[in-house]
Subunit: 203 residues, 2 copies
Amino acid sequence: MNFPSKILEKAVEEISGLPGIGKKSAVRLALYLLKQPQSQGIVLGEAIKKLVSDIKYCKVCHNFSDEEICEICAHHNRHDELLCVVEDVRDVMAIEKTGQYYGKYLVLGGKLSPMEGIGPQQLRIESLMQKVENGLVKEVIFALSATMEGDTTVYYLYKKMKHLPLNFSIIARGISVGDELEYADEVSLGRSIRNRQTYDGAS
Amino acid sequence: MNFPSKILEKAVEEISGLPGIGKKSAVRLALYLLKQPQSQGIVLGEAIKKLVSDIKYCKVCHNFSDEEICEICAHHNRHDELLCVVEDVRDVMAIEKTGQYYGKYLVLGGKLSPMEGIGPQQLRIESLMQKVENGLVKEVIFALSATMEGDTTVYYLYKKMKHLPLNFSIIARGISVGDELEYADEVSLGRSIRNRQTYDGAS
């Protein structure tokens, strides 16, 4: 494409670097921004810069955070004896949205997947072990995707922790097998958190 | 959605303000940026801010430009006697991409469309008249969409200019009726510029 302006070309190039946005869509978005009040583009650009510059990861649970320790970990009303293990930050957001959970989280950073080269070293298992060994946690809730990799990860983690004086549970499979957590509807996901089942490795 | 971070929430809010990008996609894009090297987000944010702050419109043809007068209008090798009338900046880009045109442009800013409330006052017809009355232009090439509104606009403009000593042509309808210019393939569009036909209002 021949761009009438280097500034436009640069913006299109950067926008089309985002996943799922091709060159034509990028041109469309850039021209859209040029038709809006200037402030919209300024605020958008600033928000993106701030996002990648200023966001932190909670030192305790590895959730995104504006501070060293995230709002959930720092909240005095959240129950320390409940620890919900999830794959991803998006899963924390999905569970928080249900309003059915008052414990804490640990974000694993993925699930075991030999196909994608993700082994235990790539997950935040050391953080999880630190957390459960401190004596405050009474119940570990597995809230991973209802897929083969999810189930394998749950079993692996259970075996690592089962010598500890902990109860284990897994969110109820109200969500259909094969589903990714983040796409479940709030009601099903909320129910599956409430109806979590004791986990003994046999499932 | 419950966001673990105000910074993330703000970024998602702004990204989802773009057309065709919902909240879920915005979260996905934000998390994608957080997984990339920080510089990508910085450069993207800066490019967007620069886009809406620094881009100018060419005073002569209304194309986007980094200067007061765009590269095409300022170029000494472009023929002043050819003037191609297009609806939109995207159409200039599309025609430039064919490499088949060496004249100048005038960007109308749309086409007559009573349904959308676009009348002659909303288009840059005054600029067009100034341009054709200066005596340099010998041929006006209509390169508008092959739609009813496009044809109506061509006819309107032709009637306004036909008293002047000008030749009129219209790009060959190698592109199928009902097509928008910007979606035509380069070869057809290039051919339709080369094979432009004399226009006498009867067409």
